[in-house]
Symmetry: C2
Subunit: 437 residues, 2 copies
C-alpha cells in the first residue's frame, strides 16, 4: 500500500481506534514519531451507549466519531481503513487488507468481541451487541419481531416474538433489560395499539448468583430491585444450555420460547494471526508485561480488552472496561517515547475510578471507591460522565437533546428499520474485509 | 394476514407513507372510516433532504419519522410493514407480502423511483438516490472511493476515484453538485491531508440546455453562476451514451473517467402489478381523473408521483413534487368522504406555491410565483421552509443544530461508513420483500 513514510521519524502503527488506540495516537502528538492508525471502520465507537442505539433511543452517528476528523489537526497522524490479518513481528510487518506495512513500533488495540464459548447454535441464533452494525442489527431484529407478532393469530404463536431473553447480567445486559422494560411500560401500546403491555416479557439471565457481578452487593441488590419493579424477570444462578432460534434451554430443565435472545455473557480478545500460543491468555488476550509489551518483542505492545497484563498484583489482568484501555493507551505511548529517547520505561498502574451502570429513568447505581449510591443521583452522575466522555461537541448536544426529549415525553427515539435485518452476516467477521458491516 | 376489521366502517387502504399517503391518513382522522396504511418501511422519508444524508451532513434518522409514532393518537389508523405485489381491483383486494387484504377504498401513493430509461449498464454502475438506504449507499460509496484513492499511486490511477459526475441538473443534481464542491473546498484537505483540493473534480451534466429546467431563467442562470464559482463544471446540452463503471461517454465523443456517477436524470412511478396497460401513462404513472380516481374503478385512487391526472388544463399531469402529493392527498381523502356520504365530489386544483433549490452556503434560488430572488435570502427561506416541513420537533431541533454547526465550522457532518457499500443490491427492489434495505 501507498503509506510511504519519507520522514526520518520512527513509524508507530496503531491497530484499532477504540478507547485505547485513540489515547496512544493523542499522546504521540508533536512527538518525534509518525503515527499510522488502522481500523476497519473510519470511526471511533463510544461503546457504553451502544445499547441506546440498539433500542432506537440514539442514532448510531451520535455515538460514533470520525477518526480522520478527530485527528485532523495532528500533523504526524495518518489513518487508513484496513484490517490486520497477520502480524509478522520477526520482520516488523503487519499484513493487512490494503497490503503489508512495515512498522518500527506496533500497538495492538483491537479490543474484544462477543464470546459464545464455542456454542455455534447460540452464535448463529442469538444477537450480539459489540459494534454499531451489530447494535443496528439488534434494533431491526427487535422491531421486526414486534411487527411479526402483529401478524400472528393466537397467544402461543405470538408470544415468542414478544419475549426477550438477555443472557449476561453485566452492565450491558442490565441496561438492555431496563430499556426493554421501559419500551414495554411506556411505548408498546402507543406504537402498537393492537398489543397489551402484558404481551411483552423481559428476562435477564446470568449464571452468577447476582446481577452486575463485579459491582458491590449494595449496587447489585439495588439494580435487581429496580429491574424487578420495572417488570423484568431476573433469573440468576441459571446456566444456558442451548438455543435453537425457537427455545432457550437452561440447565435443570427450565426453558423459554423466544425469538429474541441477546447475548452479552462474555467477551474475548480480537487477536490477529501470527502470535504464538504461549502469549495467548484466558479470554483470547495477548499477554503483556508490566510496561505493556508483548513477551519476546521489544517493539510490539497490546492494550485494553485485547491485552492481559499479568503481574503479581494483577494475576488475571485488568477488567475489560474503557478506563483500563484509556489509561493503558496513555501509558504505553509514554513508554514508546521513553524507549525512543533511551529513557527508563515505567510499569503501568491502573487507577480505578469506579463503576456506573444505569437501569432506566432516574435509576442507576454507582460504586465510586468507598462511596456507593443508587437511584436518581447516580443516574445524573451516569448521564454527566457519559455525556462529557463522548467525542465531539455536536454529538454531546445531540445526545443531550435526545435524552431530554425522551425524559419529557416518555417516548424517545425513532425506532426506524432503515435496513431489513437478515440472519446472514449477523456477527462481524474480524478477519475478512467484505463482511456485512 | 391478521388485520381483522371488526368495525362497521369502510376500510381505506393507503399504499405508501410518503408526502401524499400521510395526508390521506391525516385527513381521515375522526371520520367514519378505518384506515390501514402499508409501507415497506416503518418510516416517512423527508425526500428533499436526502442529499444531505448522502453527503453525511445529516443522519438518516433526522429526516425520517416513524409512521406508527406519527399516528399514535389517531384511533382509526393502523399500520403494517408490507409491500403490495398486485392489485386485484375487480375483487377489491390488494395482494401483499403479508397476505391478501380486502379494501373498500384504495389509495395508491407509492411514489416514484429512479428512471434509468432502460440502460442496464447505467442502472448497474450509477448510483441512484431516491430512498434512505440508497442515500446511505451513495454516502458510503463516495467515502470508500476517496479512501481507495489514497491507496493509488499516480494521478491516472487515482483521478477516477476523485471524479464525480452528476447526471441530471434538477434540484437533486444541483444540490449534490453544490455539496460535493463544498466538500472539496472546505473539508477534503482537512480529512485527507494526503490530497489536494485540485485532485477532486465535480461535473454536473444535463441533456437540457439549462440547469434547473422547470425554474425561471433568472433562477437557472443564478444557479449556474453559483455552481461555476464553486468549481463545478456544468455541462448542459450533453446526452449520456454509456457508463461501464470506469468511463462515462457522451454523445459527440467526449468522455470522463470516473468511479462515481450519480444518476438523478429522471423518475418513474412505482406501479403495483394488476393495472391494465391502458391506464399507464408516460413515466409509468397511473392515469386518474380530475377527482383522483383510476379510470374504470369507483373506489381506487392514485396520488402524487405515481399519478398522472390528465385533464384539459394539465395534459401532462402535474410535476412530481411534494406539494402536488400533499395537496392531492388531502383532496382525495375529502373526495372519499364525499363518496361515502353520498355527496358531490370535487375536481383537484393544484395551488403552485413555487419552487426552491439550494446550491450551498448562503446560495439558493427561489421562484415564488412572480417573486423571484436568489442568494442569501433565498437560502434562509429554503432552510426555514424545509425545517418547518420536517416531521417531529426532535428532528427539527437536531437538523437545525447540525446546520448551525456546519455553518460555523465549515466542516459539518460525520462522514461515517457504518456499513460497507457493495454493488450487489444497489437499487431497492420494489416487488420483493427480502432486498437489501
Amino acid at each position: 500500500m501507498n503509506t510511504s513514510n519519507n520522514s526520518k521519524f520512527p513509524l508507530v502503527v496503531i491497530v484499532g481506534g477504540g478507547f485505547g488506540g485513540l489515547q496512544v495516537a493523542k499522546q504521540l502528538k508533536d512527538k518525534p514519531v509518525d503515527v499510522l492508525m488502522l481500523d476497519k471502520h473510519n470511526y471511533h465507537t463510544f461503546q457504553p451507549l451502544l445499547y441506546q442505539v440498539a433500542m432506537g433511543s440514539l442514532e448510531s452517528e451520535s455515538i460514533a466519531f470520525s477518526l480522520r476528523k478527530n485527528f485532523a489537526s495532528q500533523k504526524n497522524f495518518r489513518f487508513r481503513i484496513a484490517e490486520v490479518t497477520r502480524v509478522d513481528a520477526e520482520n516488523n510487518i503487519v499484513e493487512t487488507t490494503i497490503g503489508n506495512i512495515a512498522y518500527d513500533y506496533l500497538v495492538i488495540a483491537t479490543g474484544s468481541t462477543t464470546n459464545f464459548f464455542g456454542n455455534k447454535d447460540i452464535e448463529h441464533y442469538a444477537m450480539p451487541m459489540k459494534s454499531i452494525p451489530e447494535a443496528l442489527n439488534l434494533r431491526y431484529s427487535i422491531l421486526q419481531n414486534i411487527e411479526e407478532a402483529l401478524l400472528k393469530v393466537g397467544k402461543a404463536e405470538r408470544d415468542p416474538y414478544l419475549t426477550f431473553v438477555l443472557v449476561g447480567a453485566g452492565p450491558t445486559g442490565v441496561e438492555l433489560a431496563g430499556s426493554l422494560a421501559e419500551l414495554r411500560n411506556h411505548v408498546l401500546t402507543k406504537d402498537y395499539p393492537e398489543l397489551k403491555k402484558e404481551d411483552m416479557k423481559v428476562y435477564l439471565v446470568d449464571f452468577l448468583p447476582k446481577v452486575l457481578g463485579p459491582f458491590s452487593d449494595q449496587a447489585s441488590n439495588a439494580a435487581r430491585t429496580f429491574l424487578t419493579n420495572m417488570g423484568v424477570e431476573v433469573l440468576t444462578g441459571v446456566k444456558v444450555e442451548s438455543y435453537d432460534g425457537e427455545e432457550i434451554k437452561f440447565e435443570g430443565g427450565k426453558s423459554i420460547r423466544t425469538k429474541n435472545v441477546i447475548w452479552s455473557a462474555g467477551v474475548m480478545g480480537v487477536v490477529p494471526e501470527g502470535f504464538d500460543k504461549e502469549v495467548i491468555e484466558r479470554g483470547n488476550r495477548i499477554k503483556v508485561d508490566s510496561i505493556g509489551r508483548v513477551a519476546g518483542f521489544n517493539n510490539v505492545f497490546a492494550i485494553g480488552d485485547v491485552a492481559a497484563m499479568i503481574t503479581d498484583e494483577t494475576p488475571k489482568g485488568h477488567p475489560g472496561v474503557a478506563q483500563v484501555a484509556i489509561q493503558m493507551g496513555q501509558h504505553v505511548a509514554k513508554n514508546i517515547i521513553h524507549i525512543i529517547n533511551g529513557e527508563q520505561t515505567s510499569p503501568f498502574k491502573y487507577n480505578d475510578k469506579g463503576s456506573l451502570a444505569t437501569i432506566g429513568r432516574n435509576k442507576a447505581v454507582a460504586d465510586l471507591g468507598k462511596v456507593k449510591f443508587q437511584g436518581f443521583f447516580a443516574w445524573l452522575v451516569w448521564m454527566f460522565v457519559h455525556l462529557i466522555s463522548l467525542l465531539g461537541g455536536r454529538n454531546k448536544v445531540i445526545v443531550f437533546i435526545n435524552w431530554v426529549s425522551s425524559y419529557v415525553t416518555y417516548n424517545g427515539g425513532t425506532r426506524l428499520i432503515i435496513r431489513k435485518f437478515e440472519r446472514e452476516g449477523l456477527t462481524e467477521n474480524h478477519h475478512l474485509p467484505n463482511t456485512v458491516d
